[in-house]
């Protein structure tokens, strides 16, 4: 029973730190978004990507810090401190709890596991649906070696990057017929920049790492991440063709083409997604990118602070676990 009891305590502590880090990151995200908005898109994208991993990093660092005294005692038994603290639950591998695992706590863990399974199943179903569509878009019969893209025989004006591991550019015959060679070059440069940066894969990772954030905050964060990736690729296309204004013109041209076909437009939206923000950014002077040395130094400092506070964190965790399991 003792090893089961220790496992229960570690799982409960892990759940607590996961929820706490989700709440902390959710609360701080609006301020982070406001802070990085004026940054160059490439730097902003790196910062937001790191921030989207923060719930995972903070939760793991908190759990590690809380377990540190027990891990140290496991390696160097002379540092075992449990003997000095009687009368409460020990988050310790040397002195695991001897009482039977608490049924209500197991129920809590089962509920958390169930919630996670339902969320994962939903995401997996979405991924499978997307994968089926992607497979059909990447039909090798549509490969156009000269263009370096797959050409989809449809009138709808489409230019896409499809796939996660080995993404490929797909353009529609309808789009090729309605734009100039220079316009097409802008779009191909933009999509190839996404492929080089592995943006689709990074977006999936960010989506998975932010699953415990408050939903509206998570949506804002992922939307800002997507916008920064789009703007980074707009800048890359602008550099490749030597004309940022042309990129803005092509974005508007494709937006206009997408508005034309009757019946193709999805649920009407009047805010225009990313188009206004992308075009307005291209009309401004390019912003100079910079490093993330300060945010990274802050993150390292916060981790060190957590580890330095491992003793009090360990005891607070034990007290809370004691209250929960009795």
């Amino acid at each position: 029973m003792s090893s089961l009891g220790a496992l229960q305590l570690v799982l409960l502590a892990g759940l607590g730190f996961a929820l706490l880090s989700g709440a902390v990151v959710s609360a701080l995200t609006p301020a982070v978004l406001a802070r990085v908005t004026p940054w160059a898109p490439d730097r902003r994208h790196r910062a937001l990507l790191l921030w989207s991993l923060a719930p995972l990093g903070l939760g793991l660092a908190g759990l590690l810090a809380a377990l540190l005294p027990s891990l140290v005692a496991l390696r160097w038994p002379a540092h075992d401190h449990c003997v000095a603290h009687h009368g409460h639950v020990h988050l310790c591998f040397l002195h695991p709890p001897t009482h039977a695992a608490n049924a209500a706590s197991w129920m809590l863990l089962a509920l958390a596991a169930g919630w996670f399974a339902v969320r994962s199943a939903g995401s997996l179903a979405g991924l499978l649906r997307a994968s089926r569509v992607a497979t059909r878009l990447l039909d090798p019969r549509h490969d156009d070696a000269a263009l370096g893209a797959r050409v989809l025989p449809t009138e709808t004006p489409l230019c896409l990057l499809v796939g996660v591991v080995r993404p490929a550019v797909v353009v529609s015959a309808g789009l090729i017929a309605q734009v100039s060679q220079a316009d097409l070059a802008v779009m191909l440069h933009h999509e190839r920049a996404h492929a080089m940066r592995r943006d689709t894969l990074l977006r999936l990772l960010a989506g998975a790492a932010t699953v415990l954030l408050w939903r509206p905050i998570r949506a804002r964060l992922l939307r800002a991440l997507t916008l920064s990736a789009e703007q980074s690729c707009d800048e890359a296309a602008g550099r490749a063709v030597g004309d940022r204004l042309l990129v803005a013109e092509v974005i508007l041209k494709v937006e206009r083409l997408l508005q034309m076909p009757a019946g193709l437009a999805p649920a009407a939206a009047s805010f225009g997604g990313d188009v206004p923000a992308r075009v307005e950014a291209l009309l401004e002077a390019p912003r100079t990118s910079g490093t993330l040395s300060r945010p990274l130094a802050l993150a390292a400092l916060a981790t060190l602070g957590l580890l330095a506070a491992s003793d009090p964190l360990h005891h607070v965790t034990e007290s809370l676990l004691g209250a929960l399991t009795h």
């Binding site: 059909r136 489409l158 075009v279």
Partner: protein, 135 residues
């Protein structure tokens, strides 16, 4: 030919082979299809029958009962099928069903309002005109 919804348009390997066999004018009875396709695939007549039933349920085939057996024929020509399948593929894209694995040059699921678009086009045109005026 009759028209109707085709769902799901993505066919499995055996389903595609059966459709191709029928589009080429092959016999539409399960035993004949098994003789043409099944022997080299190592599958039974029952598997072919299940595949035909599935395609019938997807509204891709029609059937008549001749003696004790069903004889199947395509509801759509190959071209009609491909056209519709492509239409459904584009529809899925426009409704964001592939967003996890697809990124579009311009977002497909949200459109800029006409005023937004006109304002931005005017701004860009003005900037282009100014750029042309400069030596």
């Amino acid at each position: 030919m009759a028209s109707g919804p085709i769902r799901p348009p993505l066919l499995g390997t055996l389903e595609a082979a059966v459709m191709e066999h029928l589009w080429r004018g092959g016999d539409g009875e399960a035993k004949a299809i098994h003789s043409a396709l099944g022997a080299r695939r190592g599958i039974t007549v029952n598997t072919v029958q299940s595949t035909l039933k599935r395609l019938f349920e997807k509204d891709l085939l029609e059937r008549d009962k001749v003696s004790h057996a069903h004889v199947y024929r395509p509801r759509l020509s190959r071209e009609e099928f491909q056209h519709r399948a492509l239409g459904e593929l584009v529809g899925a894209l426009m409704h964001g069903e592939a967003d996890a694995m697809v990124s579009a040059f311009v977002e497909l699921t949200e459109r800029a309002g006409p005023e937004h678009l006109a304002r931005l086009e005017a701004l860009v045109a003005e900037r282009r005109a100014r750029a042309k005026e400069r030596p």
